[in-house]
């Protein structure tokens, strides 16, 4: 048996044992998670379907957008796959404990890198399929396409996923090999360069283009890049369409172009990985030069916080230092917010500020929605598991002469402060770029702040309620029942806060809601958000504190 076959049998056994593990979990938990996933896919399907119906209602322009939207969608998913694979490849190739185990086995580097590349691509592709399935299903439903459309989509999607995965893995390998480690500034510089590169790519303009295309490109950022004949996302989108329309020769040719390029990148990963991995691994695993490292990170902040009670100050400093020393964590957050910041700062380039009020309002509320969604996912990813991740060290906090209430509230305030700073800053930028009026600016920033505080409290409280000190893996903590419930409630809170204001402002812009009624409706909606936030802050924190106090360790 070859080592690679042994590894695949091992993976198959792991998957098979998952059933055993699931059988031991409560039925309610499994059903809840499955229903949530189905609800998300259903929700995305309805959203995409509404979008296609809206575009169809626009007539010729809508038709032009719909065709190109397919390419744009695959461009977005492709970019997401590449970025996600950069991070996943780093953790599976260099940080996974399995790596150490496999490196002492008689496995040649080529085989090892191949296995890890496939593993990281599969791990990072679930979100691609999670979004791609409802999008293509909505398109097929809207265009009344048969089942064959699904077959062609799968046929093109698989090589596309591996092509993007290979790009991500190549970037990850090269970055680890040639970037000096322990330099946070290099990591930040890489993310900023990536964002700038995306910005430049999005603004690519051909010298000659049709007037209609020119206008479309002004309103749809990245369309020019998405429909470029050398882009793999364009081969994918065009290939699916060609085969669906019965253009067998063109469709087959595009599929072959995609497959051969993927195969070439596969070979490149093997060859490049074989040459580079071992040296890169030495960079990551070699002990750092501790003499050059300052004994205290952010010592100035520690001194600045001297006014705080000593136990709260040290807990805050511990959490900040642990977070900053884990680039895998903050790099994801940086990418999320960097891209959002980039998007908001491009509003004037795309002339969003010149749109009629009804559209501008819509964009403002969509911005609140997108910022809040990212806040919810960050709270689910970072805030919810923070108490569980104290793990075996929890006894240090438990034995300290400080109460569980103080511990939990400190974690909440720190999380809320970070989330509020980011969300209010981003919303401020978005409303300023859109030249929104003062009332709308105050409401959108206020909503972002309320949602950030509520979601931080919810994640901290539920994190204490569903604490799991035995699990060192944050992904396993957040994918459990508590983590899923936290995400569902966070998203629910977000919708509950945004929708009333969104409806009032849309009503005002579309049907001219009278001033007195408009002001009264805003006041009621504001009161509702305050009440909702109060409940979302106090109840989970109270439950969390009670649970921690009553817990045996």
């Amino acid at each position: 048996m070859s080592p690679l076959t042994a590894i695949w049998i091992k993976n198959w056994n792991t998957l098979r044992n998952l059933r055993r593990i699931l059988q031991r979990e409560s039925i309610f938990k499994t059903v809840f998670i499955l229903l949530f996933a189905a609800g998300m896919i259903g929700g995305f399907f309805m959203m995409f379907l509404n979008g296609f119906q809206f575009l169809a209602s626009l007539g010729g322009g809508g038709f032009m957008i719909t065709r190109r939207l397919f390419s744009l969608f695959f461009l977005g998913l492709g970019a997401m796959l590449v970025m996600s694979n950069i991070i996943t490849s780093y953790s599976t190739l260099f940080r996974s404990r399995e790596t150490l185990f496999l490196l002492t086995a008689p496995l040649d580097t080529r085989t090892f890198v191949t296995y890890k590349f496939i593993e990281s691509t599969l791990l990072s592709s679930w979100a691609f399929f999670f979004l791609m399935i409802p999008f293509t299903a909505a398109y097929a439903w809207h265009e009344k396409l048969g089942l064959v459309f699904a077959v062609w989509t799968v046929l093109f999607s698989l090589p596309f996923v591996f092509l993007c995965g290979a790009l991500g893995s190549l970037i990850s390998l090269a970055a680890v090999r040639w970037f000096p480690r322990s330099r946070l500034v290099w990591g930040a510089a890489a993310v900023i360069l990536l964002i700038l590169a995306i910005r430049v790519l999005l603004q690519i303009r051909p010298v000659m283009q049709e007037e209609a295309t020119f206008i479309l490109n002004r309103f749809l950022p990245g369309l020019q890049l998405a429909t470029h004949p050398l882009m793999p996302n364009n081969w994918t989108a065009e290939g699916i369409m060609a085969l669906t329309n019965g253009e067998w020769f063109r469709g087959s040719m595009l599929w072959l172009v995609l497959v051969t390029n993927t195969a070439m990148l596969f070979l490149l990963i093997q060859e490049f990985g074989n040459r580079v991995f071992y040296t890169a691994y030495q960079q990551v695993t070699g002990s750092p030069d501790i003499r050059r490292r300052a004994p205290e990170l952010l010592g100035w902040l520690d001194r600045l916080l001297a006014f705080l009670p000593h136990d709260i100050r040290v807990m805050i400093m511990k959490d900040i230092r642990s977070f900053l020393r884990d680039p895998l964590q903050w790099s994801q957050a940086l990418i999320f917010f960097g891209l959002l910041g980039l998007y908001f700062s491009s509003f004037r380039s795309f002339h969003y500020n010149e749109m009629p009020p009804i559209w501008r309002n819509l964009v403002v509320f969509l911005n609140i929605f997108s910022v809040s969604s990212v806040i919810c996912s960050l709270a689910a990813r970072f805030v919810f598991p923070q108490l569980s991740l104290e793990g075996h060290n929890f006894w240090i906090l438990g034995l300290a002469p400080t109460g569980m209430r103080r511990i939990l509230l400190t974690k909440f305030f720190l999380a809320a402060l970070a989330m509020v700073t980011i969300s209010a800053g981003l919303m401020g930028l978005a409303t300023w770029m859109l030249q929104a009026g003062p009332a709308l600016s105050i409401i959108s920033i206020g909503l972002a702040v309320a949602i950030s505080i509520s979601v931080s409290a919810l994640s901290t409280g539920l994190g204490a309620l569903f604490i799991d000190l035995k699990q060192p893996n944050p992904a396993a903590i957040i994918s459990g029942f508590g983590g899923t419930m936290n995400l569902v409630l966070s998203l629910g809170m977000m919708l509950g806060a945004i929708l009333p204001f969104g409806l009032i402002w849309h009503w005002r812009a579309s049907e001219g809601l009278a001033d007195p009624l408009f002001i009264k409706a805003n006041l009621i909606a504001g009161l509702w958000v305050i009440l909702l936030s109060g409940l979302m802050v106090s109840l989970p924190l109270w439950l969390g504190i009670r649970s921690l106090k009553n817990r045996e360790y």
């Binding site: 048996m1 070859s2 080592p3 076959t5 042994a6 590894i7 049998i9 091992k10 056994n13 792991t14 044992n17 998952l18 055993r20 593990i21 404990r97 399995e98 150490l100 185990f101 496999l102 490196l103 002492t104 086995a105 008689p106 496995l107 040649d108 071992y278 040296t279 030495q282 695993t285 070699g286 002990s287 750092p288 030069d289 501790i290 003499r291 050059r292």
Partner: protein, 256 residues
């Protein structure tokens, strides 16, 4: 069986291993001692190919670890101090996986696995997931996995961490039996009594340099200390960053 020539490894400004040379013949249990941060684990990691030496060569069974890594790894086994096990596999699945990795061509692999599990007292746990096993059971499983491809050389980093007295006795007997069968074992430990008990030869490393080497008697001669291995070790490794050796215990029993 293990041949190390002028091995060096530096991390930034720290010389972790400094011109280390060592020859360990087949069928010897060699014990590597040294204070924390002396370079023991770094040396083992270089011997297993996990770390690349800055200079020097390591040959395992005649294979250069850097130039012929796959051949060298085929005849070696490694038990780290904090081992990794696949928590979602059963012991049988895990052992079959390791056998596949090393391309073990045992005519009755399943029977061999069953008898090994029974020998190590893990038969009852054969259907459990590894994540459900106790620390001692996991350690025992790891020993079965390491021996499954009949390696000629074994590296063990702290072999007795967290084991109960029964398991400790079992592991000690097992290691001695394997050495009698011709296996070469290099282990690092802080339990000096273990080294005194089972090692054929002992090497003491401090600041990346091999400062003493030989049987217990040789170490006494080299250090000029006639006391226990603990006394010899503390005298040899005494430095400003290591605490001073304790004064000799007073004999509280009156002379007869």
């Amino acid at each position: 069986m293990i041949s190390i020539q002028h091995l060096n490894k530096r991390f930034g400004t720290v010389q972790a291993v400094d011109d280390l040379s060592l020859e360990i013949p087949a069928g010897e249990l060699f014990c590597f001692l040294g204070p924390n941060g002396a370079g023991k684990t770094t040396t083992i990691k270089m011997m297993t190919g996990l770390l690349r030496p800055d200079s020097g060569t390591i040959r395992i069974g005649g294979f250069d670890v850097q130039k012929q890594p796959v051949e060298a790894k085929r005849i070696m086994g490694y038990i780290p101090d904090m081992p990794f096990l696949y928590e979602k596999l059963t012991p049988v699945e895990f052992l079959k996986f390791v056998a596949g990795l090393y391309n073990v061509t045992h005519p009755d692999l399943s029977g061999h696995i069953e008898s090994s599990l029974s020998q190590f007292g893990l038969q009852e746990a054969r259907n459990a997931l590894i994540g459900e096993l106790s620390h001692g059971m996991r350690q025992r499983l790891l020993y079965i996995a390491t021996f499954i491809h009949a390696p000629r050389v074994i590296f063990i980093d702290e072999p007795l961490i967290g084991l109960d007295p029964h398991s400790i006795r079992m592991i000690k007997n097992l290691l001695r039996a394997k050495v009698r069968d011709g296996m070469t074992i290099l282990l690092t430990t802080h339990i000096l009594a273990l080294a005194e008990d089972i090692a054929d030869r002992i090497g003491i490393i401090s600041g990346g340099r091999l400062i003493a080497l030989g049987k217990l008697g040789d170490l006494r001669t080299q250090s000029g200390d006639k006391g226990s291995l603990e006394d010899i070790f503390l005298n040899l490794t005494a430095s400003p960053k290591n605490p001073e050796p304790l004064p000799p215990k007073k004999n509280l029993n009156p002379e007869p």
